[in-house]
Amino acid sequence: MPLAGESLSQSITGAAPPDLKEVFNIGPPGLSPRQYADPDEAWAHSPNLWPHALPELQPAWTAYYNAMRELGNQLMSLFARGLGLPPGFFAGKTGHGANALRAINYPARDPAALPGQLRAGAHTGYGTVTIRSLALFSALMLISWKPPRGSTTSATQPGLTVTGLHALDGARYLRDALHPDTTLCRLVAHHSYAIVEAGERGLAGVLGLESEPAPHVLSAVLTYCDMTTSPAGELVPVERRLAEIHHRYGPGHLVSRSIQRATPMILRAVEHVHRRAARTAIALRTEEGQCLHGREARAGSPLRRGSSSGAGHSPRGPVTFDPGRSSSGGYPSIRERGRSPADSGGSRQKEAAGMLLDAPADTGLDAPARAGTMVRFARAVRTRWRTLFLLTGAVLTVLGIVLASGAVLLPGILLLLFALLHGIGSSGCTSADLLAGWPWRG
């Protein structure tokens, strides 16, 4: 089913824009040996359609379909036991059902979403049981679920302990249920400067101890994506996203306070990613010979060192993200497919992610190569300030000692200390930086 081919919430509301997703469905493989009771049943068992371009799809999906049908029957049998019925009670009623196996793909969003248009509209499951592979996004969705007040689920293992800090709860759940790569847990734990809210909740120590901050560049991209996407999945300016959070929680709420405190850092991260994405776009256009002015900008851009300007290959080639297998036999469930430069216009987030992954970390700001001496000097100060501070500090310190003058010695030592400590601070210890009030640095 192509993009916008289905509207799940039509099942509830009666009218809704189609969902922005692609779906591949199959029903029971092969002809059922049973006689169909009526035309409706025969219709429900209509043959599956398999693509000629991918012959391996049919055997793989047939085997999986059969395994999942067995699992469904096993669950129905367990339900019967729970209801005090014979184990085979449902077997004759659901055992030969026209079950659906469906894979859903949410491609990068090229067309702008209509008002109210979602990836998958609100709906209630249609069948008796839905078995869903444990996708990362399901896990993230579930963390916002809370059981009804007073309910007891004593028979269950703790799946998610709730501290109220969704970054920490989500990271713990990921870690325990999916056993993914630790970087993923770190990204979730520290997304969008969660350390600030952790501080407000008295959980900064817990968060910092359990999860080391993820690399700056990755964190910035995730913050960018989080802070430019509305809860409905629309791309929005960061200011609107921040306003939405304030509006949702109301003034004085802990989350509003935390977001307020994190706002300067969020804005810097978003600006940083945005600027870098724009710069790479200029570099790409130059490569295609469509923008002469781009060359100047590119000359001043450290990004040209990355592979992102290669015209012959995709700089953002297939990126397979494998969160690892769960101990219970689950399988990787999130995968960002690579996009070529030609078709990547619609998703600035993925574009930005690809670019930043390619690009070396740097703090340089872009300025045209024709910039004057003063501008070049200012840029040199910005990029090499630590060296300048160290040199000046050392000279002043030596002079201070030689002249035995405190007025010279003190600034020298201060400059030295600042340059040295700042160097330590930027070595990857983001949470410590933030707690200490250091500004965000790319």
Binding site: P2, W43, W50, M68, L78, A103, A155, Y331, R335
Partner: protein
Amino acid sequence: MPYVPIVDISGDSSVVGADLDEICRAAGFFQITGHGIPGDVAEPAWTMATEFFDLPLQDKLSVARPAPDYPLRLHAAGG
């Protein structure tokens, strides 16, 4: 506090059945372990699904529903 319920369905079926009864009354969904689906069944299905979506649009449309009422198999009958 226990939240997303996790159930090992490989245990004694009367115990698991009673657990599921309680969970479904309280939550309505749960995560299962011990389902015994082998990795070499699940993984190719996943890989093939992703490869399918990577196909050119034309190849994907070759398996579009031939008619709007072709069964999606989400409903018991009627499309």
